[in-house]
């Protein structure tokens, strides 16, 4: 019996190469696969095409790779709050493709479930529609293609040895979609649990979408914009 469980990030990410496409889950710094990103920084691979909503924020997350000039292209929806990316974008060192966030998530899901393309109203009549096929249904729409990646790195709250996953609060975001769309999906978890510990009805990602899993450690889980109730 071959196990999907790996000792740590280094063991799970043994076959990365330069110039891969890499999906990374998380919204801002919420639900970011910190251990995998730091391991990729350690390995120093270059020419990464990063696919992630924010490509890091506030100097953390994928910004750890930006600082080391490991990312050469980025597909994302929002780059605000990420000065490393803005700087390299303006300097022409990184090729950034901006995608509306709902289209971004739907394209990733489409790749995961084998849908070969779809029509959406988002972006019609804007710069995003340039060069794309347009078609009128009840409203005018544009055609969008699936978005997949060589590797997906995601983080979950709980995961078992088959790769069944469960996410906490809003840390879910793009991660279940990326789990489906990555050719190799590598998951790190706050807690590695036994088969059956996640109730079958409450599994957020079925293990068949996951190729490798490991217990993460030393999470920063940084809060980007803390706001509190007035006393």
């Amino acid at each position: 019996m071959k196990s999907k469980v790996y000792e740590n990030a280094a063991a799970a990410l043994f076959d990365l190469q330069d110039d891969i496409s890499l999906m990374s889950g998380g919204f801002g710094l919420c639900g970011v696969p910190e251990n995998s990103i730091k391991e990729i920084r350690r390995q120093g691979i270059k020419g990464i095409h990063a696919i992630s909503n924010n490509i890091g924020n506030s100097g953390r997350g994928l910004a750890w790779l930006l600082k080391e000039r490991q990312i050469s292209a980025a597909t994302c929806s929002y780059v605000g709050g990420n000065p490393d990316l803005e700087e390299q974008m303006l300097a022409g060192e990184i090729d950034v493709t901006l995608v509306p966030q709902g289209t971004f998530s739907e394209r990733i899901r489409a790749a995961g479930v084998g849908v070969r393309g779809f029509y959406t109203p988002a972006g019609y009549g804007t710069l995003v529609a340039e060069g794309k096929e347009e078609r009128h249904f009840d409203v005018p729409c544009i055609f969008e293609l699936p978005l997949s990646a060589d590797f997906a790195i995601i983080k979950a709250e709980k995961g078992d040895s088959f790769g069944n996953l469960w996410f906490k609060e809003t840390a879910r975001n793009f991660s279940p979609l990326m789990a489906m769309a990555g050719k190799v999906t590598v998951v790190e978890v706050e807690e590695l649990v036994e088969l059956g510990d996640i109730q079958p009805e409450n599994v957020h990602v079925a293990g068949v979408f996951v190729q490798r899993i490991y217990q993460g450690k030393d999470y920063e889980n940084a809060i980007e914009i803390p706001k509190f109730a007035e006393k």
């Binding site: 924020n57 966030q101 109203p121 009549g125 710069l127 906490k168 109730a229």
Partner: protein, 200 residues
């Protein structure tokens, strides 16, 4: 402005609030209206702010600010979250804006030559909700009116806006002209910065 938007919300309705000015709405909605606030990063049932004790790094809104939720809240992935919007399941969406025009087109994501931040979810949010409200100051800091016959900045969405709420009044884009639904106390047509030919 905030009160005008709140007055447009039916009890028990669902609401998405864009980042920036619209977040002020969340802080003033009376709880008796039982509004279900959606944030596109994957939560329905947002309810104010956490305490120092209850704050969680995994519980944020689309503006990346810490939040709390009310009983009956739910979490979901991003494709389901935008499916709620695109599929027409959210009643009202309130967005900020840099320009909005008589045709109902909105520009709120990019100024050519300036720092690019990305459209985030804005281009999706303007399609699907039963009512799209743009909430913005009537004039820019430089004094330029933000209500135009046609937007000059790159669009976020074309012919998508139903209502415009500014510090000077409430307006409806009618295609070639704006209809004045309401003026703020003491404000006259002449102060709107709109040519008479663009007002219905």
């Amino acid at each position: 402005m905030v009160d005008e938007v709140i007055a447009m919300l039916d009890d028990d309705s669902s609401l998405n609030l864009g980042i920036g000015i619209p977040t002020l709405v969340a802080e003033r909605i009376p709880s008796r209206k039982n509004i279900w606030i959606h944030s596109e990063n994957g939560v329905l049932g947002v309810s104010g702010r956490p305490t120092e004790e209850s704050v969680s790094p995994t519980l944020i809104n689309a503006g990346k600010e810490t939040i709390s939720v009310k009983p009956g809240a739910s979490y979901f992935d991003s494709s389901t979250s935008f499916g709620m919007i695109r599929g027409g399941h959210i009643d009202v969406c309130v967005l900020g804006g840099m320009q909005v025009d008589a045709e109902g087109s909105l520009a709120n994501w990019m100024i050519p030559g300036k720092k690019v931040t990305g459209m985030g979810g804005a281009m999706d949010l303007v399609h699907g909700a039963k009512m799209i409200i743009v909430m913005l100051t009537h004039f820019s800091k430089k004094g330029d009116v933000k209500l135009l016959h046609r937007c000059t900045l790159p669009l976020t969405g074309k012919k998508v806006v139903h209502k415009i709420v500014t510090d000077l009044g409430v307006f409806t884009p009618m295609g070639d002209k704006f209809r004045i639904d309401k003026l703020a106390d003491g404000v006259t047509r002449g102060q709107l910065g709109l040519a008479e030919e663009w007002i219905l």
